[in-house]
C-alpha cells in the first residue's frame, strides 16, 4: 500500500502542487458540504456579483447530502455523491478561490481546465463507504441554507478524512490513467 499523505485545511498553492493523481490523502481540518441545490444558490449569487454566505477561498467542498445523525453521533452516514451534477457550477467557485472538491465520478473538461487555471484538486472518496467515512467527521454544523435540509451547507471538522487524489492541478486524471492498465 502506498504512503498516506496528511494535509490540513485550508489549502494553498504550495500544498496543492505537491499532490499528484493517485496519492492517498488524509484530510484534517474544516471542510464544507454542498450539493445540487446549494450549488445552484451559490451560482445565482455569483451571477449577481453578490457575497457568498461562506468564504470559500482556500477551502474544500465535499459533495454530500448526509443521512441524519443518530443520537450520540456528530453526523450520519456521509459518503460522496456523483460530482458531474456540480460541473456547471464548479468553475465559478474555483474562480472565487475554491481549492478542493471531494466527490466521486467523472468531471467535465471545463472543470478540469478551470482546476488547472486556478490550481485546485479533485479528491475522490469511496462511494457507498458512507458509514466508514462518517467516523472521520468529528463535528458538524449547518452554516447556510438550513431550509435545504440534507442539502444545506454544513461545516465539518474532520480528522484523517480518507480520500484519493483523482485529478491533480496539472490535470492528471486517475480515471484516465488507471482503467487502461486493467483493460483486456
Amino acid at each position: 500500500m502506498r504512503n498516506i499523505i496528511k494535509i490540513t485545511t485550508p489549502l494553498n498553492n504550495g500544498k496543492i502542487i505537491n499532490l499528484k493523481a493517485g496519492d492517498f490523502v488524509n484530510i484534517t481540518g474544516y471542510i464544507y458540504t454542498g450539493r445540487d441545490a446549494a450549488h445552484k444558490r451559490l451560482f445565482d449569487l455569483i451571477k449577481k456579483g453578490l457575497e457568498l454566505p461562506i468564504e470559500i477561498k482556500g477551502q474544500i467542498i465535499y459533495y454530500v447530502g448526509p443521512a441524519p445523525a443518530k443520537p450520540g453521533y456528530p453526523c450520519g452516514s456521509a459518503g460522496p455523491t456523483t460530482s458531474y451534477r456540480m460541473d456547471p457550477y464548479a468553475p465559478y467557485l474555483l474562480d472565487r478561490g475554491l481549492k478542493g472538491m471531494i466527490g466521486k465520478g467523472l468531471r467535465s473538461k471545463k472543470v478540469i481546465e478551470s482546476m488547472k487555471k486556478n490550481k485546485a484538486i479533485y479528491f475522490g472518496a469511496v462511494g457507498g463507504a458512507a458509514a466508514l467515512i462518517a467516523r472521520s467527521i468529528k463535528k458538524s454544523e449547518v452554516v447556510a441554507y438550513e431550509d435545504l435540509g440534507t442539502e444545506a451547507i454544513h461545516r465539518y471538522y474532520v480528522e484523517d478524512f480518507p480520500v484519493i487524489v483523482i485529478i491533480d492541478c496539472q490535470g492528471n486524471n486517475l480515471y484516465e490513467t488507471e482503467p487502461p492498465k486493467y483493460k483486456r
Binding site: 457507498g128 458509514a131 486517475l174
Partner: protein
C-alpha cells in the same frame, strides 16, 4: 378470504426498509470478499476493503450503509384471497416508509415536483409501488431502497429483432462503459429484455435483487449473463472506477414475451450497496 390489517402492512414495510438500509445480504458480502481475492489492482483492493469494512460498521451500529438511502421501491405480490381491512394499501406502505426513514435516521431524498419547486417531502414518500395479483392468501414484499448515483446511469434501447444477442451484449456493455465510475462500481447489472419499454425496465430493476451467484434458468440467457459479465470486467473500470478487473459483481437478466416488431432492452444499474429485503404476511 384471509384478513390482513393495514397496520400489519405498515409494520412489515417499515421493518424491511430498516433491515435493507442497515444490513447487506450474505450473498453480496460473500461476492465482495471473493472480489477482493480476485482483484489485482492495489487501489481496487483498497476500495473493496473499505466497502467491506463499511458494511460491517453499518450493520453493527445500525446506521445507514450509504447516505443515499434511496427512493423507496416496493414490489408486492398480493394473494387474491386476501381481504385488506383497517386502512388503505398504498397509504399503509407509505406510512411504513415514512416511519422507517424517520425512526431509522435515514435520509429523506424525495422531492415533490421533479422540475420546478423540487421541495423535499421530508418523509421519503411517495414510494414507487408495484402490485401483482397472484394466487393464494398471502402478501409478499420485496423492498429496495434505490440510490440515484446508479439509477441515473440506467438506459433503455428499443433494439431491432435483427440486432439479436450481439445487439444486447453490446448495448449493456456500452452502458456500463459510459457510466464509468459514476454508479459506484462494482455494480450489479439488471437487464430486462422484451415486454414493452416500461415493463422491460421494471423487470430489469427487479432482477438486480436476484440472489447473487444465481443464473437465469434458461441456459441461453444464462450464457448471455456470463458473456456480458466477462466483457464488463474486461473494461478495466474497477472498484470505484479507479482501475481493476472487478467492475461488476453480477449480471442478472430477466425476459418476457414481446411484440413481433421489437426487442426492448432495459439496463438498471445498481451500486455495490445493493440493498433489498423480502418478507411475507
Amino acid at each position: 378470504m384471509r384478513e390482513i390489517k393495514a397496520n400489519q402492512i405498515k409494520n412489515k414495510v417499515k421493518e424491511l426498509f430498516l433491515k435493507a438500509n442497515f444490513y447487506i445480504n450474505p450473498d453480496l458480502t460473500q461476492r465482495l470478499k471473493k472480489a477482493l481475492e480476485k482483484e489485482t489492482s492495489p487501489i481496487g483492493k483498497y476500495v473493496l476493503k473499505m466497502i467491506i469494512e463499511n458494511n460491517q460498521i453499518a450493520s453493527s451500529e445500525k446506521i445507514a450503509i450509504c447516505q443515499d438511502t434511496g427512493l423507496a421501491v416496493v414490489f408486492t405480490e398480493i394473494g387474491q384471497e386476501v381481504h385488506l381491512v383497517g386502512g388503505d394499501f398504498i397509504e399503509a406502505i407509505n406510512q411504513g416508509v415514512k416511519e422507517a426513514y424517520q425512526e431509522g435516521y435515514l435520509r429523506k431524498s424525495i422531492v415533490d415536483d421533479p422540475v420546478f419547486e423540487r421541495k423535499n417531502t421530508n418523509t421519503n414518500t411517495p414510494a414507487i409501488i408495484y402490485t401483482d395479483i397472484v394466487a393464494g392468501d398471502k402478501i409478499k414484499f420485496l423492498v429496495m431502497p434505490k440510490g440515484f448515483g446508479s439509477e441515473n446511469m440506467s438506459t433503455l434501447a428499443m433494439l431491432k429483432p435483427a440486432d439479436g444477442k450481439k445487439g444486447i451484449v453490446d448495448f449493456v456493455v456500452e452502458t456500463v462503459k459510459k457510466a464509468g465510475p459514476n454508479p459506484c462500481p462494482p455494480t450489479i447489472i439488471g437487464v430486462g429484455i422484451g415486454g414493452s419499454a416500461d415493463k422491460a425496465m421494471v423487470i430489469a430493476k427487479k432482477a438486480t435483487a436476484r440472489k447473487i451467484g444465481s443464473y437465469n434458468k434458461n441456459e441461453k440467457y444464462a450464457a448471455i449473463e456470463r458473456e456480458i459479465l466477462t466483457k464488463i470486467n474486461n473494461l478495466g473500470i474497477g472498484p470505484a472506477g479507479l482501475g481493476g478487473n472487478i467492475t461488476s459483481l453480477a449480471v442478472h437478466i430477466d425476459y418476457l414475451p414481446t411484440h413481433i416488431a421489437g426487442m426492448p432492452v432495459a439496463v438498471n444499474v445498481c451500486c455495490h450497496a445493493a440493498r433489498h429485503a423480502e418478507g411475507i404476511l
